[in-house]
Symmetry: C2
Subunit: 243 residues, 2 copies
């Protein structure tokens, strides 16, 4: 059997993985992923072949996974969160497009908008939009348009990749677009290093969010018009009438 | 300590829960939830007090959880998926608003848009919006507006609660709104009974999706303009330029 598992490890360490994810890793001959993810599970994969690769070079890495699979080795490609959300799953499908004999199984994990939400309280209990501010693979005007429409629709907005060294002011720019439709005192939250050492969370207004310093390990959630603070947590009511 | 865990069990059975979720259940004196969810974990909670409650009556149930917590019993309120997404987490925060001494910990789980996506392939690898078609707690015109704006923004759209007996034509109505902005041949998918007996998935066009019969156990994903079918799976490319 020629098989590639694309495995989401969830946030942080072993305790937030599913048994299904661990089972896939146990059934694999080769484990692939960034150093950081491999480190999270290194105690569990001592008897495995490990292929560590640097950030970027996703297509190269998926080609390598395909090579292993074609040679008869079962591969697990691991990442944090869920590999179906801005992750490797779609790249694997594209790279293996001409090899239908390779079976691909995506094993979902807890993505940052869920784990981040749980740290902040219950901010995504109503309709929400997930938007990445990374313009590496997406034109910025498309990102701007989505921010604008999501804000107009009063969606809760979860922002991935809010900034990086090269894009220090992207979160501020995003807030300014959202402010066209949402009040300046809209409840917002952000979480750094979810489920890891150094986890911290903050609840601020949309106005204050403009000046917040974030990095690639920060997840930001902008509330909807109903979102409120209850005992220090960010809570979006599930409905409009029930309480 | 007065403590309530709000625990997402993920889709299906035990193997898709996190260790953290199981640990919370083990630390609890009382387990609360719908019959269906309690059944999923019944082998693990033989020594626990169990409070089973019917669908609806969420506020009553959360009040009961608060009572247990105030009496010194640690409670786990369990649900499938992630209890922060259209789930009990926000209701618990609201009901416990006047009792800051009750500690609430939300333990995230794999919600249906992630588990459904993994069954279909990799459809949410780019920006996406999550919208429930249930108008029990949300006015229908608000739902329509969100569908319209999400479609205009070329978001992948994940639809929860696509229909019920009383709302047999809601998915069709939703498709008609989305068709104002997206092509009739946009790739769509739906999954029934994710992670459970009877799981099935289908990939159709947006035009065909209008006539699909769904129920409350179906999750629907409408692709963006880039979404395609690769070897029978639904795949949204992560970016616009990399391959």
């Amino acid at each position: 059997m020629k098989k590639i598992y694309v495995v989401g490890l969830g946030p942080g360490g072993f305790e937030q993985m599913s048994k299904r994810a661990m089972d896939a890793i146990n059934k694999s001959d080769v484990i692939m992923g960034y150093t950081y993810y491999i480190d999270l599970i290194k105690d569990k994969i001592k008897d495995k072949e490990v292929f560590v690769s640097p950030m970027t070079k996703e297509v190269f890495r998926c080609g390598k996974a395909l090579e292993y699979a074609l040679s008869g080795k079962t591969v697990s490609m691991v990442s944090s969160g869920d590999s179906g959300v801005y992750g490797m799953a779609s790249v694997i499908y594209e790279v293996c497009g001409n090899y239908p004999e390779v079976e691909i199984e995506v094993i979902p994990g807890i993505t940052a908008c869920l784990s981040g939400a749980s740290v902040l309280g219950a901010p995504i209990s109503h309709d929400f939009a997930v938007i990445s501010l990374s313009d590496l693979l997406t034109p910025w005007d498309k990102i701007e348009k989505r921010l604008d429409l999501a804000a107009e629709g009063d969606f809760v907005i979860c922002i991935y990749n809010p900034s990086s060294k090269k894009r220090a002011d992207y979160l501020k720019k995003a807030c300014q677009i959202v402010l066209k439709h949402k009040n300046a005192d809209t409840v917002c939250g952000y979480v750094k290093n979810i489920g890891r050492n150094g986890q911290e969370y903050h609840i601020v207004t949309l106005n204050e969010l403009q000046r917040v310093k974030t990095d690639m390990f920060t997840t930001v959630i902008i509330g909807n018009s109903q979102t409120k603070v209850i005992n220090g947590k960010m809570v979006t009511p599930r409905g409009y009438v029930y309480i």
